[in-house]
Subunit: 188 residues, 4 copies
DNA sequence: CATGAATGAGACTTCATTCAT
DNA sequence: AATGAATGAAGTCTCATTCAT
């Protein structure tokens, strides 16, 4: 109501600045002062929005996970759906490199920070479930080239995606190859 | 027999201590003083061995890459060779978790440090070549389930291994699944 | 009336403390911690005012050069004006020994620090010009004992003053002697 | 007797290296390790020759003062003798700049180090006496342009020389001007 | 004579955080 | 909401010196 008051997007601006800074320098070089400066406020003012550094990082975490929204084309057959999904990710990997770098850094941080780990795990539940569905349906439909284990396949896909974040330039052929291995059509 | 001379490899001890510290806290929390303390020397003495922090990290880098020695059973058929190789890695992943955590951290650091990047890249050349040989021979012998692309398959394997470092507990089924996808024998 | 706000010029206090410290120990023994302690603040707070040691020294430099204000009695004849001016300096030399010691140290530092050199050179321009005027007018009025060269005489005066900073106790007779040499009236 | 033993000029080499280092960086930047390195020995070996840093500096002090040997042409008349002497110094000032820089630094150090002060004072006694003789003889012979005070004139000459060390490029005209002021011949 | 290892004191600087205004 | 001053802990690195070999 007051018109002096809230700068509603100060928080957002800070989060975005932090996001970019982490993408650029990783957590190792992540300092608060430059973030405040980037938004044009004093560094102590930053503490009004995020009392502690960890709070800001948590906000960045939510921002990052929320940004990753791969669509699942449920109208497609399992194999095609997988190919479409991984293709989208491969595309995003070069289109939004910052996002994947930040997610990568967050995965590392999760090793030592329980709360980060939990958030990421929760966030990935949806993804895991969707992938599981793909493989289950495929198994039912005998769409895969081999007798695959659903859980292992899910983890395989996730590991591949996470691993390829280090080399976005080969992402596309890699996921293509992986899909090729799953699909029945090709092969002797 | 004097007290001064009887530490034949303070350097090694320092490297090992640094190695463990990085495995435990990552580079973010990597401080020199605790390293010196762990070895039982004054922190300024550390600078006698490693003039700069970067020098110590470089030594850790060499220590880590040198430690990773997967045997390649050239006597085996390509498919079996791949399975054996990845199996070894999966085993190592849980047997020497520190090593893989450090390698993981180094991959991250390579994003911003050219010299780290170069060392890692050089170190991986041998691995890449050995994997390429496996796939090439397999192609000649029509050992694979599909018409695969050698380069992409190499990158796929590497990405999977690197990605699975985040979850060593699923490493074994994941590599098993990946081998299953490559191998011809199974399949519906 | 709060306790925090009532130090209107911490900066000035720091500059003065640094000034005295340099006078006492020279640049060789110039350390930041004692400066902060002398003002009663934490040594990291000093960096709030002067981010770097060089910044503090630069401030001291300005403080010192700004403090040296010899009046030029333009109402006097050239010879008398010179005598008055040098007399003032000789007096100041024993009245404010710290100032001249610091200026002396700064001259030394200027040998290796370009920015110090420039500041000093700029600051001395006014002095050089005023001295040149004295000698030029004296030449016109045939006030000097000999055919003197204006530029050389200016440099002679400056060199003498700078040299006598090492022995303030003889400053007065020395400048007196120098004036005597210039002036016409005396002589056998 | 042994032929393995003494490297007779190690000491000299160290002194010379220290001399040059001080000329280049002043006492502020004077470190022992580079000196040892310049001579090609370990820095702890340096302590065999000079147990302490002060010892090395003392040796440099003697080296420097010993090197300054202005000849006094006693065969010349006082005025000519002074001109000759100062001319020699002016020449040396540009021919051996290092020497005068080191002497300059030592004068500064003497302000805080009694032993340096004493050595310098002793060393200058000869110079002072020779200058005094010049002026005394000149007074007797009525060679000077004015009734000068011997002691003050000695200090004036010394101050001028010390002051002009900061600007060797104007040394020659400055001493020329000073001699001109003393000499009788010119003037109205 | 020469060395390398070791030390301890101390240097400058950075940073997240708090507090009064 | 916003600021600037202040803090204290900690960080990397340097240097003269000593000691055993």
């Amino acid at each position: 109501m007051g018109r002096v008051a809230e700068q509603p997007d100060r928080r957002q601006a800070l989060i975005r600045a932090a996001f970019s800074a982490i993408a650029e320098n990783g957590f190792e070089g992540f300092r608060l002062r430059p973030i405040a400066a980037a938004v044009g406020i004093d560094h102590s003012t930053l503490h009004h929005y995020f009392p502690t550094k960890a709070d800001l990082i948590a906000a960045v975490l939510h921002h990052a996970t929320g940004q990753l929204e791969g669509t699942m084309r449920m109208d497609l057959e399992p194999a095609a759906r997988l190919r479409h999904h991984l293709g989208e990710i491969a595309t995003a990997l070069t289109a939004q490199p910052e996002l994947f770098i930040v997610l990568d850094e967050l995965d590392r941080r999760a090793r030592r920070d329980q709360s980060t780990a939990t958030t990421i795990r929760d966030d990935e539940q949806g993804w895991r479930a969707a992938l599981a569905t793909i493989f289950e349906e495929g198994v039912e439909q005998r769409a895969w080239s081999v007798d695959l284990d659903v859980d292992s396949s899910v983890e395989l896909v996730i590991a591949t995606i996470k691993g390829v974040r280090l080399r976005p330039e080969v992402a596309e052929p890699v996921v293509e190859q992986l899909c090729g291995l799953f699909s029945k059509e090709s092969g002797s």
